[in-house]
């Protein structure tokens, strides 16, 4: 009721407000005359918050049924397990007993101090194996109502009719055997064919705001994953890039695929409100095809960080490292003093135990086998030597181990087919003031895994970059002092020395700080990124000769296409200008450029490994001439067509221009008089200028001819 209404009503009833003490007005109890109390809303809210009060109770089922004599023992075991996960209220553990037999009923109730602890305990111990026949089934007490309401009758799930999906490998069947790449620039994400013959790209699919941070191909190229607020999504199929699956994970930050792309790991970290605390980290592992979450991990960043503390920045990615091979069997996580290796059948730890290794700081899987290499630095001020070891999974047998002395740091590099492991060892000099580097080379596939020590010719050289030849036996090292370091090539196998590492050659004073081997080996790009402004040297390691030296000014990224035929170099938006990418042939010939403002990312679509056996591949390489004939002809046709098209395009452009010029000329003619008037009758400049131009031109040409003639006469 508005105040005015009240006043008029009061006046009608002859009430003088000033005489009324409002507080003295009392309503009879239980009757409010339709007047709502001001407090009612507040009261109502209170009621909503009031819940059953059982939110901090969990029910643990599948306990062993024990007689009275063992009751106390079981109770103690349970107390021990659950008091680790939260504070159990006083007398909060209650295990009912059958009054007739005196044995327990196989379940118990546990009341925690807070619902959060209860939730945590439920998540952590659901599925906990006390022994083989007793696997805990833990539920919140509050959930019981829901669980009890499950229908008694089992309803057979409806079988959905089989709908054949799109061919996810369609891009591999491209007639021209082209490769795809994805680029992100401005708001647009584009999937493009690299059509090197046409010297341009062909658009496959384009979408604005496709992803909220970045995109990534799966390791075999089947899927493209995009990141969103709600989670990650994968896209693929023929050329349309339809959404195949979504993975719910709020505010996902990073994703990682298992090498056989069966599983997707998503990562989210929450910055702490208190900067001294570590970030909260949540990691989920999904089955890519079904979209089911297989396991999730929660904790503070410190638990997931390797080496240094996780801190505010979050854990170092990838937290989980997948074992090599296509079957995606194992993945490992490194945390303080432990290596946790999980297997994907049950998503549990192998043998339910993690491996204890004191002070381990780095682990690395072999790319093909389930062998884990790990590095433990020196301890006790050098009393205990540093150690590099190879561990077989799942047997956890140590295959090989090497102790190293006065080590400051180690880096492990696996060769792509898992044949060799190179360990770059930085050692202190005697004075401990500086370090020098050497390599320990493990031959994994040979008996007893022999280890070889390699030192550079000049021991004091700093090592700037190291890279194995993919599938090959060679490696390249950039060493020496900036700004002109040397590049050396070594091989693990020569015809003379079967088992000795030999140097192939050294290139002196190169402007390079990064190495990019072709995925097929043999060719390498020595790239000078960042400070070197994008110097590129295309080098043939078989012949030890430079094929081309070029520059993509300010290039930030270099990436080979999966077949090793083309190279993309890109300037991303870290620089302000000349953003975009350039495609080169494997031997350093510039094919085409593509400028795009605000260029963020470029990634080639990976190809799955070839089904051809090495013998077959060799045979093809031998008879290359026979196979290549067909393609050469095609190439020729294309280039003819291209020049034809080009000519036509130019002609069209020229004709169009002529039309404009003609139109302008006629307008100019029409306006001639008007112009003359505007200039106070001064002759329109057209003829004047034309005459002038002609004259000048003629004079110019005469001059030139004169000069040349004189020279000839002399």
């Amino acid at each position: 009721m508005a105040e005015l209404d009240i006043d008029t009503r009061a006046a009608q009833l002859g009430i003088d407000w000033s005489q009324v003490n409002l507080d003295s007005v009392k309503l009879p109890p239980g009757e409010n005359f339709g007047i709502e109390s001001d407090d009612e809303g507040v009261y109502h809210d209170d009621q909503l918050e009031f819940d059953t009060g059982f939110g901090n109770i969990i029910v643990v089922d599948n306990l062993p049924v024990v007689p009275k004599t063992k009751f106390e023992k079981l109770e103690n075991v349970l107390k021990k397990i659950y008091s680790q996960l939260g504070v159990i209220k006083e007398r909060g553990l209650w295990m009912p007993v059958d009054p007739n037999t005196g044995t327990t009923l196989g379940y118990c109730f546990i009341e925690f101090n807070t619902p959060q602890e209860a939730q945590n305990a439920k998540e952590k111990t659901h599925g906990y194996k006390l022994d083989k026949s007793h696997i805990f089934a833990v539920n919140m007490f509050d959930d019981f109502d829901r669980l009890m309401n499950v229908k008694e009758e089992w309803e057979a799930p409806q079988t959905k009719p089989y709908v054949p999906g799109e061919n996810l490998q369609k891009w591999l069947t491209d007639e021209k055997a082209r490769d795809q790449l994805v680029t992100r620039s401005g708001p647009d994400t584009e999937v493009l064919w690299n059509d090197a013959r046409q010297k341009n790209t062909e658009l496959v699919h384009k979408r604005s705001y496709w992803t909220e941070s970045y995109v990534q191909w799966s390791p075999l190229g089947t899927y493209l994953v995009t990141l969103h607020k709600q989670g990650a999504a994968v896209w693929g199929g023929a050329d349309t890039f339809t959404r195949l699956m979504r993975y719910q994970h709020n505010m996902v930050k990073l994703v990682d695929f298992s090498p056989g792309e069966k599983y997707l790991v998503t990562y989210h970290s929450q910055e702490p409100s208190n900067p001294r605390d570590a970030s909260k980290v949540e990691i989920k592992v999904f089955d890519v095809r079904t979209g089911r979450m297989m396991r999730d991990f929660k904790g503070s960043a410190d638990e997931f960080s390797i080496g240094g503390p996780g801190g505010v920045a979050g854990a170092s990615w990838p937290v989980f490292r997948w074992a090599g091979g296509k079957d995606d069997k194992y993945f490992a996580k490194l945390s303080k003093n432990t290596i946790s290796v999980y297997e994907t059948e049950t998503f549990g730890l192998i043998d339910k135990k993690s491996i204890k290794v004191d002070n381990v700081v780095d682990i690395c899987w072999s790319p093909t086998d389930s062998i884990l290499s790990l590095f433990v630095p020196e301890q006790g001020g050098g009393n205990q030597p540093a150690k590099v070891a190879l561990v077989q999974i799942p047997s956890k047998v140590e295959l090989r181990q090497k102790n190293l002395f006065s080590v400051s740091d180690c880096k492990m590099y696996w060769q792509s087919s898992g044949e060799y492991l190179a360990v770059k060892v930085d050692r202190y000099t005697k004075t401990k003031k500086s370090t020098y580097s050497g390599f320990e080379l493990f031959r994994i596939k040979e008996r007893d895994i022999p280890i070889e020590v390699l030192e550079l010719d000049n021991k004091n050289d700093k090592i700037i970059a190291f890279a194995w030849e993919p599938k090959g036996h060679r490696f390249a090292v950039i060493h020496g002092d900036q700004p002109r370091p040397d590049v050396s090539f070594y091989t693990m196998k020569t015809t003379q020395h079967g088992g000795r590492v030999t140097k192939l050659g050294t290139l002196k004073a190169k402007q390079a700080n990064a190495l990019f081997w072709s995925p097929t080996g043999k060719y390498i790009i020595l790239a000078g990124l960042k400070n070197f402004n994008g110097q590129l040297e295309f080098f043939n390691v078989d012949e030890l000769e430079t094929m081309a030296t070029t520059e993509h000014f300010m290039a930030t990224d270099v990436e080979w296409d999966p077949t090793g035929r083309y190279v993309a170099t890109a300037v991303t938006s870290v620089h302000e200008m000349e953003n975009g990418f350039t495609i080169w042939s494997f031997n350093g010939k510039l094919l085409y450029r593509n400028l795009k403002d605000h260029f963020f990312q470029l990634a080639w679509r990976p190809r799955p490994p070839s089904f051809l056996s090495p013998e077959k591949e060799e045979e093809i390489a031998k008879n290359l001439k026979k196979y290549s004939k067909k393609y050469e002809l095609e190439d020729q046709d294309v280039s003819l067509l291209l020049s034809e098209q080009d000519r036509e395009k130019r002609k069209a452009l020229k004709e169009e221009w002529e039309k404009w010029v003609k139109q302008w000329k006629s307008l100019q003619e029409e306006e001639k008089l008007a112009r003359q008037n505007l200039r106070d009758g001064e002759i329109s400049d057209e003829e004047e200028e034309e005459d002038e131009a002609k004259e000048v031109k003629e004079v110019e040409f005469e001059d030139v001819i004169d000069v040349t003639e004189e020279v000839v006469q002399e």
Binding site: F553, E576, M577, W657, L667, Q668, R679
Partner: protein, 328 residues
């Protein structure tokens, strides 16, 4: 041929203008004195003293006797080219950004910047035959619909019937020069995406070229405002010019002046880039400046051009005979 380096300005160049005969070159810079040079050998002929701020733009009459300059000191001045004496000074409440004489030199269009409460505006002034009769009243004042954004350049259309303007709001506008009505706006879809920095028209007023910070230059029909060509540069474009002789356009620019000292000297791309006007393909570049290029002008005979840079130099380039035989 070796370029002629003309050192006379102490601050970055802002504008270059040849007279009709192509024997004189006028240059404007952020120092306060526009300078006149001999266009063939680059010798300095004289300066025009009187401005008290950066000089943004100039234009010279068809008979090469009168010069008009627009300056940040909130004036536009008329000068006697022969003597270097100031003839008249138009006063505005805000800096004068661009000036352009009409066909017949009886009118001039002057644009002013947004300043304090004032919005950017286009003023049309009548230029008296005898400087003694000169009045400062505007014949027409046009207010941009987007007045807080600066208009960088306004020029006369064919037969002085229209005025074409472009500026920070990236839109090109054609105005009726009689009534002041807005006739056309450039299509936002195909038009520039960022500040239009420069606008140069063809000798016959049939078409014009615009340069923009969106790293492109565009060629437009002056009567219909139809987009004809786009030249993609990769760096912000500060200055544009068209060859009167061949179908070439030249673009100048480079990274933002404030970023120059932080990167490699090659990073700036301070080249004058030549493009084929019809095919829109890059032909070549002329390097030399060590700062962004702010001004470009072709000699009316098409055989030389000059560029003015943030570095304070004017570089005068006479083309080699090879240039006239370029085929692509």
């Amino acid at each position: 041929m070796r370029p002629i380096l003309m050192k006379g300005h102490e601050r970055p160049l802002t504008f270059l203008r040849y007279n009709r005969d192509g024997d004189m070159l006028f240059s404007c810079a952020k120092d306060h004195t526009p300078t006149l040079w001999y266009a063939d050998n680059g010798e300095r002929h004289g300066t025009f003293r009187g401005h008290n701020g950066a000089v943004w733009c100039c234009d010279v009459s068809r008979d090469s006797l009168t010069l008009i300059t627009g300056s940040a000191d909130q004036t536009a001045k008329l000068w006697d080219v022969k003597t270097g004496q100031q003839l008249f000074s138009f006063k505005f409440g805000s800096p004068a950004r661009s000036v352009d004489f009409s066909l017949g030199d009886k009118l001039a269009v002057i644009t002013t910047d947004p300043f304090m409460e004032r919005t950017s505006a286009i003023h049309v002034k009548r230029i008296a035959e005898d400087p003694a009769d000169q009045v400062s009243e505007s014949v027409l004042v046009l207010e941009s619909p987007n007045g807080r954004k600066r208009i960088n350049r306004a020029v006369w259309g064919p037969l002085n019937q229209t005025i074409v303007s472009g500026g920070e709001d990236a839109v090109l506008r054609i105005w009726d020069a009689e009534t002041g009505k807005l006739l056309k706006e450039s299509d936002a879809e195909v038009g520039h995406k960022n500040t239009i920095t420069s606008l140069t028209k063809a000798a016959d007023d049939s078409h014009f070229i615009t340069g923009s910070l969106d790293k492109t230059a565009k060629l437009w029909d002056m009567r219909t405002l139809t987009l004809l060509k786009t030249y993609v540069s990769g760096v912000p474009v500060n200055a544009v010019s068209m060859s009167p002789l061949l179908d070439h356009v030249v673009l100048g620019g480079g990274q933002d002046a404030s970023a120059v000292t932080t990167t490699d000297h090659r990073a700036g791309k301070f080249e004058a880039k030549f493009y084929d006007k019809i095919l829109q393909e890059e032909i070549g570049g002329v390097k030399g400046h060590f700062g962004p290029i702010n001004a470009l002008a072709f000699n009316p005979d098409g055989k030389s051009f000059s560029s003015g840079g943030e570095d304070g130099y004017v570089r005068l380039h006479h083309f080699d005979s090879d240039y006239f035989n370029i085929r692509i």
